[in-house]
Symmetry: C2
Subunit: 393 residues, 2 copies
Amino acid sequence: MTTPSSDTGPQPSVYPGLGLVEPKSVELFPDGMLLESGLKLAGPVTVAYETYGTLSPERDNAILVCHALSGGAHAAGWLPGHRKPGWWDIMIGPGKAFDTNRFFVLCSNVLGSCYGTTGPSSIEPGTGRPYGLRFPVVTIRDMVILQRALLDHLGIERLLAVAGGSLGGMQALQWAVSYPRVVASAIVIACTHRHSAQQIAFNEVARQAIMADPEWKNGDYYGGEGPKLGLAVARMVGHVTYLSDKGMEQKFGRRLRNRERVGFDFSLDFEVESYLRYQGMSFVERFDANSLLYITKALDYFDLSSGHGSLTKAFHGTPAKFLLIAFSSDWLYPPYQLKEVAQAVRRGGGDATYAEIKSDYGHDAFLLEYQAQEPLIRAFLDRVQGSCGFASA
Amino acid sequence: MTTPSSDTGPQPSVYPGLGLVEPKSVELFPDGMLLESGLKLAGPVTVAYETYGTLSPERDNAILVCHALSGGAHAAGWLPGHRKPGWWDIMIGPGKAFDTNRFFVLCSNVLGSCYGTTGPSSIEPGTGRPYGLRFPVVTIRDMVILQRALLDHLGIERLLAVAGGSLGGMQALQWAVSYPRVVASAIVIACTHRHSAQQIAFNEVARQAIMADPEWKNGDYYGGEGPKLGLAVARMVGHVTYLSDKGMEQKFGRRLRNRERVGFDFSLDFEVESYLRYQGMSFVERFDANSLLYITKALDYFDLSSGHGSLTKAFHGTPAKFLLIAFSSDWLYPPYQLKEVAQAVRRGGGDATYAEIKSDYGHDAFLLEYQAQEPLIRAFLDRVQGSCGFASA
């Protein structure tokens, strides 16, 4: 298991917000898990998760938070030895948008990842060695089924909300469609109802960069070097798509890296080059290349209308309320895609609130523009809770 | 020297337009060429070029056409054994936008390329082996200086126009600023006056993909395998940036490649994946990886205002007329960049015509939207020629 964060270092002397939190883990599906592909993943399937706040006696205040491509179950609070809190700590905690004085918040690492939940770097039962490419391809629907099993294990029958950005938002959409009677609302940020050709294309470039690295060894690199350079290139591609033209111009422009003038060579000239190389190489320390292959494939396979005939039919009759948030400069998941979701929900008779936040941060805005998102989420959750959100199970 | 095109195959039985054309070559700078970096490139410097049409007795009808990143001197007409004509044949020939009944059109391969002009795959004098990374870094200004030397050799003192798209457009801009008394007009398509952070970032990803390939061998791969997989990944990144979201959706969508359903594995699922892999692998057959490193670096160094204080000052007092053409869906070189050029030319007292063509083809539009460009270019050249364009030399 890769460590969830490279942010180790001196511990802070105080832990604001949720304070220290506890990583948890459970084994589910002892007899194996049937996947959307028809293939079976051998049991048991391990799920890493964390919880924040307290489940109400009525068990009606649970919110599932879903992470993005390279995230993990550690969404909020502090783990011993870490310099930074969880990836959405700014939004989860006492008095925050996901107020842990009111809500019981959960987050679990997705199927196929490398932060504690079973994935391609896990040991294949009966072989004593990591799966590699023998791990079956998983889908976002499979990720959601595993989350549902976790909730069953925890005795949670209903969710007040499922929330997330990017891959996390797609899980929230899938939850509302797969389990309309379980989910009172979905908070869907910076994502799409199905991957477009351009979105598939960027993922394919990332996969090919990994597979081009001879150290990838067809996925059987565990115990060896691993495809470090290929994974770094894959991450660099990702990072360009997470920013915006204007945001990059403001952040880097043509500023040089510790130089008076360009070097007229192939060493580092521009700050943006230095930023990308750093992002690429630091990612290698904390993420598994095969997990990137599997999760990008799950993203590319995502098409919410699949099996329903149309997107509108997928939402038809769902009682869940939707809050859909897009960002003006997000060209990886452009706003028009969540607008289509809002239209489909409404055409299906449902309740959708669509908000486009003006931002120069590109796709990264979903993690950075918390001040603009917080009042939207707070008001939405008030409304969902006030209308005693749950349909009869 | 790599062959200029992979489009070999059965020859057509007729050669429409210009018919068969002749590849030419000349050696210039016998004593070496001083570069913008201060470094000296050993002489002689070879330049590959082609010409179409006839130079007028007054020598006032010459138009220099400049190619893009992966192009060469073969801009129009047919070479024996090729299935396709030159890269801008649709625009150059009798009766076409660049009408060879009226104009004498030239195109030369840029310094640093691999299609006949001296570059990193050329033999380093005195060593008997290819330069590799011992080739000095070149700039767009250096490319233009070499073109100027070619014109001197051909006895051409003035250009009615310099024209090109992408890298070719940047050369046209550099010509107008470096030699304002030589150039009557510049036709500048789908490019910028300086590379932005995002443009540098995409080029850096491409370079890192090449350099991550162990077969790159720090540039000394000639005679060996070469960084095929790395170069293919670099080209794949490029191709995603050449298309648009909408264009890719129309061209590929989520269509599967010869399949009823997705494969739930890492073989080819989607047509867009197949397209990218094909583009990547076919590029490897026809382009030199080191040339890609050098030319992308020249693009990243490009900043027309450099040495002038501002873009407006760079254009101040230039007598050249400018036709600037951008495409609505080109997000690699977004229209706002050429709008800035138009404003700067006008603020400098100059004559700029800016046109934004509505298109879904993204950056590729500069090669595809010929019907929209042709009347603009034709009218512009008429106006330039009619105003007997040349300032006194």
